[in-house]
Amino acid sequence: MRRLLSATLEGARVARAQVVVSALIGLISIAVVVTAVEAAANSIDAQSAVQRDLEASGARTILIRDDTGDGSIATAAISRIAGMSNVEWAVGFGKVGDVTAFAGGTPVAASPFYGHSPDLIVTAPTAEAGLLVSRLSSNTLGLALPLGQVNNQDGAPEPVIGSFVAMGVLNDISTRALRLDSTWTGPVTFIALQARRGVDVGSVAEEARSLLGAVPGSAIRLDVPTALNDARERLDTTLVGSGRAAVAIALIAGLMFISATIFAGVLGRRRDYGRRRALGASRGQLVAVVVAQTLTPAIPSSLAGCLVAASTLGSSLAKVEFIAATGTLTVLVALLASLVPAAFVARLDPLKSLRVA
């Protein structure tokens, strides 16, 4: 063991003495870490961007429609659905009726609503019943401010008590006015709900349907974005696969370059290995010399590569753990790369090596 350790330290001294070979191994190690991390970071960033885009397009949103109201769905169903562990939020809307701000004014559809969504921000100074208008519906009605009074289709007045902003998957209701009414219990004709995970949309939709309490036989329609989620799954798989392939290519290229560099160094110094055998080195000790000669520049260079990669990534989502893992992998690659030339050295005929001019 002491002899092996001693030969390993000799390998480190050889690495310090053979500056060109060590510098090449160091540069390759840095390049491998930086390239692999960059490739993975690009893949992670692309994956994240795709997820964001799909999210915005409603990949997790399930829409339930009972256009005729025959299902007699109560607002309590929305509470039940929102209470599901795999549902982020649920909001429901009732039948639509027109309202106008003045005689001959442009009508705007208004409907009662129930529930909460981060995509629906309500600003109502009072908890009393009344209408909420969006910027768009307010303009359509001809209201300068979200205040005043409108008339419903029966001619009855309704106060305008506040405003709302709808975005994301609820953006379409920006054209409407919403009726805030804590006494409203249904019927609900339209429900939008968001599953916590895209992969769950199918099962969430089925469970939500069972919680509707709709009249049997009514024409309930569910819009489930399964195709969108399938596409996301495929994209994720493709991006992860291409990211891994890029990392693997960087590591394999590093392995080949490091191995070739060490091999070239060994071939040019065959006589040194013959001399080492004459001085009492065993085959195992020669392997230790070559491995240590490779790892001596590879370890600090991989660490330097990690620092360079971390400093150049900026806002990328690639984590520190991943960078450290890539650095460790690069050291392992260098170790693997050294084994072929080390085995070559161990098998050299010492007599022939000593005769190399």
Binding site: R2, R3, L5, S6, A7, L9, E10, R13, V14, A17, Q18, R271, D272, R275, R276, R277, A278, L279, G280, A281, S282, R283, G284, Q285, D349, P350, L351, K352, L354, R355
Partner: protein, 212 residues
């Protein structure tokens, strides 16, 4: 004493370069191996140094049979008991003179500090006037060969095997190197020299001529 009996060896199957050669070299003597180029002088020397195992025959040192040793056992024996001197010194140009002299300690596992001190004393005792911290490129061929002799003698070997140690040296440098090898022999070391240099043969106690 090194005793080789009926030793055969070759690089190609059924084509022995050494064919049933015997050699006996006593402690305290310097023996020359002579013969024409290609006769196997160097090969016999490296066989004696246990660098390779012979096809047949036996090799013994001080009565201990060494032919059946494993590669690891041969390496251990070589590191502790045998010193080699090569034709042109065979120093590592990327290391200092001192590093070259103590290189064997890397494989014997001995402490470098103690070996460095011993090496400096040996360089001084042999009168090798070179800066031990310089690279071999900065010293002459004669000095390099003397450094190689110093490296061979550092572990206090029982045997010193020299392969054409004066091949590239002028008369004065050759004389100095031979003086050092002869001094080692006189101190009880078995010295065997493969050579075709008449200056060497004339200084040796015995000569063995290999057939062509």
């Amino acid at each position: 004493m090194i005793q080789m009996d009926e030793v055969s060896f070759g690089y190609r199957k059924d084509d022995p370069i050494i064919d049933r050669i015997s050699l006996c070299a006593e402690r305290g003597t310097m023996t020359a191996l002579t013969g024409p180029s290609g006769s196997g002088k160097s090969t016999l020397l490296y066989l004696a140094g246990l660098m390779v195992a012979p096809w047949s025959g036996s090799i013994a040192v001080d009565g201990r049979e060494l032919t059946g040793l494993t590669d690891l056992e041969r390496s251990l024996f070589r590191g502790r008991n045998i010193g080699f001197v090569f034709q042109d010194g065979c120093l590592d140009a990327s290391r200092t003179v001192l590093d070259n002299v103590i290189e064997g300690t890397a494989y014997s596992g001995e402490a470098r500090g103690a070996a460095s001190e011993a090496a400096l004393l040996l360089l001084e005792r042999l009168g090798i006037d070179v800066d031990p911290h310089r690279k071999p490129m900065a010293i002459s061929g004669g000095q390099a060969q003397r450094v190689a002799v110093c490296r061979a003698l550092l572990p206090n070997p029982q045997i010193v095997l020299a392969d054409e140690p004066t091949g590239n040296l002028d008369d004065l440098s050759a004389k100095v190197v031979l003086d050092e090898l002869q001094a080692a022999a006189r101190s009880g070391v078995v010295v065997v020299i493969a050579t075709h240099d008449g200056r060497v043969v004339s200084r040796c106690d015995a000569a063995v001529e290999l057939p062509s």
